[in-house]
């Protein structure tokens, strides 16, 4: 089987942090005014220079709205510069069910995002602490989890177990990927089983939920952290808002399924603004006394 062949192959391509821009990953859902010089906030309308916004980690200075981030932007923001080794970037989705239009949709998302799939995994350091990291990218099939996403996350967890590095996972996903049917559903099982091994072995796993973390991703690895964190304003939930409203026949509160709502309901450890994320993660890594250097 292919996976047996590639399992042992570790790919160490050094990706220079801050490389995201070179990949044409600027677009996201940001509304761009002339040539991307100015960007208007989706929430409050504050207009900022793109460069300024970039410097502010894509958080609106007017209202604190967290703009979506690409996987590589996030990696650049979190990891020490120059330290990122990507895993398994050669894994590609196939069309196991012959599902209508799936391949063309994959192709389109590859072109627009410059990514091979909806998650980027690898290892690097945060303030010198080595970590295995997985970052989902909502621009690729809404960050949905099919076989490749499940496999990459599982392999990343296995690397973390083998090296005894903490595992940090940033979720951004609409859930399991419909076009791979029950195989997508089973990735919930596979990733959770890999995390069970970390759990048994006492290896730290931190889950950071970003906008959105819903469905099968919310109901598997995203909820299994030793620490479950979220970014402000992130939509997090199992069932979709419209489905719930149809089921219970009443309107839901405005803040339903936001990070802040879940924090109040006892479902999260902490909501962490993006500017504090790297620092807070480093503090936690320190408390877990991970040895320095790699």
């Amino acid at each position: 089987m292919l996976k047996d062949i590639f399992y042992k192959k570790r790919r160490y391509a050094t990706v220079r942090t801050g490389q995201a821009q070179d990949r044409g990953e600027e677009k996201a859902e940001v509304k761009e005014v002339p040539e991307g010089l100015m960007i208007k906030c989706d929430k409050c309308g504050t207009i900022a220079y793109a460069k300024e916004l970039e410097k502010n980690l894509k958080v609106c200075q007017g209202c604190g709205y967290h703009f979506p981030m690409t996987a590589f932007e996030r990696i650049a923001m979190l990891l020490d510069e120059g330290y990122f080794f990507e895993y398994d970037s050669e894994l590609l989705s196939t069309d196991p069910l012959n599902f209508p239009d799936y391949l063309s949709k994959l192709k389109k998302d590859m072109e627009t995002s410059g990514l091979s799939e909806a998650v980027v995994t690898g290892e690097g350091t945060i303030k010198g602490y080595p970590v295995v990291i997985a970052v989902m990218d909502p621009r690729f099939r809404m960050g949905s989890m099919g076989s490749v996403v499940g496999e990459k996350i599982t392999r990343a967890a296995e690397q973390a177990l083998e090296k005894r590095y903490p595992f940090i996972l940033f979720s951004a996903s609409g859930g399991a990927r419909m076009q791979e049917g029950v195989l997508s559903l089973m990735q919930m099982a596979k990733t959770s089983a890999a995390l069970a091994r970390l759990n048994e072995a006492g290896v730290l796993y931190i889950s950071v939920m970003t906008n959105p973390t819903t469905g099968g991703v919310s109901a598997s690895f995203a909820s299994l952290g030793d620490y479950n964190f979220a970014e402000p304003g992130a939509l997090i939930g199992f069932a979709g808002r419209r489905i719930i409203e149809q089921t219970i026949r009443q309107e839901l509160p405005e803040d339903f399924q936001t990070a802040e709502f879940l924090l109040k309901k006892g479902q999260l450890d902490k909501v962490i603004p993006r500017q504090e994320l790297r620092h807070t993660l480093a503090k936690i890594l320190d408390m877990h006394t991970v040895r320095r250097g790699s």
Binding site: M1, L2, K3, I5, F6, E90, L91, L92, S93, T94, P96, L97, F99, P100, G146, S147, V148, G150, T154, A176, R177, M178, E180, G181, V182, L183, L185, M186, Q187, M188, A189, K190, S192, A193, A194, A196, R197, N199, E200, G215, G216, S218, A219, S220, A222, S223, L224, G237, F238, A239, G240, I244, T247, I248, Q250, L252, F256, K265, G266, Q267
Partner: protein, 322 residues
């Protein structure tokens, strides 16, 4: 008649006609024996034609059939000394999941399953077999107990899905499901899961991490309901039939995808048409797998389960030219 599916109608009408002729033969003393024999042959051929080539959508209808055997039906037929146990010790007792201890072939086991109702009233009480977090947490509590006392766990899966409600979200539906997935992966006892009817996505999977996954012939298991997929894909829930085909949700599909280990045959017309026969078939398959798993150590069982799920998925790897 209630519970008649449209694709079965020609056969059921033919059967009624045969009945009628029989009655005539007895009551009116007119001999229709020849006709009856002829019609019976036709009925047999027709049954073969209808049930021998069920479409995915027809199987969905059978899996959701109001007379489809429920988890409690299976528990009562397969096990002895069943004692139902209640509550998650945190919030409440969810009637959409039943759980307890019982004996299977003289061996103590823990049994857990989604429970649908037989009629509207019971379905309302059972929330149509759609659990809240407390249901999954009850299941987890009793699985932990099984692990502690070295009892095999047998799970019956039959749910439209985890309940999509406000309270369910507030109490951590996602977390409850996720935790079950992780914990079920860790238990050192044999776990056998059987999809008996509807395998509704994450709400089904939360009782579904086993060393063996079995499926009744007409059950289905899907990442999203055919109606939900149709609404997403074609903005039209009435295209569910088409979605059922695209999603590859039948027992045969799952077997071919390497997800299901064995398909348990159903009697012609579905499990509800001959429950005794269904149970006999299921019992022997269960026994076989349980016997095989009983020879494994606690560690081996965990590793076996890990490998089962690790192997599921299809992907390619492009090789880079240097």
């Amino acid at each position: 008649m209630a519970g008649e599916l449209s694709f079965e109608k020609p056969l059921l009408e033919l059967n009624r006609k045969i009945e009628e002729l029989r009655r005539f033969t007895e009551e009116k003393d007119i001999d229709f024996t020849d006709e009856i024999v002829k019609l019976e042959a036709r009925a047999k051929a027709l049954a073969q034609e209808i049930y021998g080539n069920l479409t995915p959508w027809q199987r969905v209808q059978l899996a959701r059939h109001p007379e489809r055997p429920t988890t409690l039906d299976f528990i009562n037929a397969l096990f002895t000394d069943f004692i139902e146990l209640h509550g998650d010790r945190l919030y409440g007792d969810d009637a959409a999941i039943v759980a307890g201890i019982a004996k299977f072939n003289e061996q103590p086991v823990t049994v857990i399953g989604h429970q649908k109702g037989k009629d509207t009233k019971e379905n309302i009480a059972r929330n149509f077999g759609m659990p809240h977090p407390e249901g999954y947490r009850k299941a987890l509590r009793l699985m932990q107990q099984a692990d502690k006392f070295n009892r095999p766990i047998i799970c019956f899966i039959n749910t439209p899905g985890a309940y999509p409600g406000k309270a369910a979200e507030e109490r951590g539906q996602s977390e409850a499901i996720a935790r079950n997935l992780r914990e079920m992966a860790s238990f050192g006892v044999p776990i056998i899961c059987i999809v008996t009817g509807e395998g509704g996505s994450g709400g089904a999977l939360a009782l579904g991490i086993g060393n063996r996954l079995l499926m009744l012939e007409n059950a289905f298991y899907s990442v999203i309901s055919p109606e939900g997929a149709a609404a997403l894909l074609w903005k039209d829930a009435s295209q569910a039939q088409r979605a059922a085909e695209s999603l590859k949700i039948t027992a045969q599909d799952l077997f071919e995808l390497g997800v299901v280990d064995e398909i348990v045959p159903e009697p012609i017309g579905g499990a509800h048409r001959n429950f005794a026969e269904t149970v006999t078939g299921l019992r022997s398959v269960l026994l076989k797998h349980l016997d095989a798993l009983k020879t494994m150590s606690r560690e081996e069982l965990v590793v076996d389960r890990y490998h089962k799920y690790k192997a599921i998925g299809r992907y390619a790897a492009f090789t880079e030219s240097v």
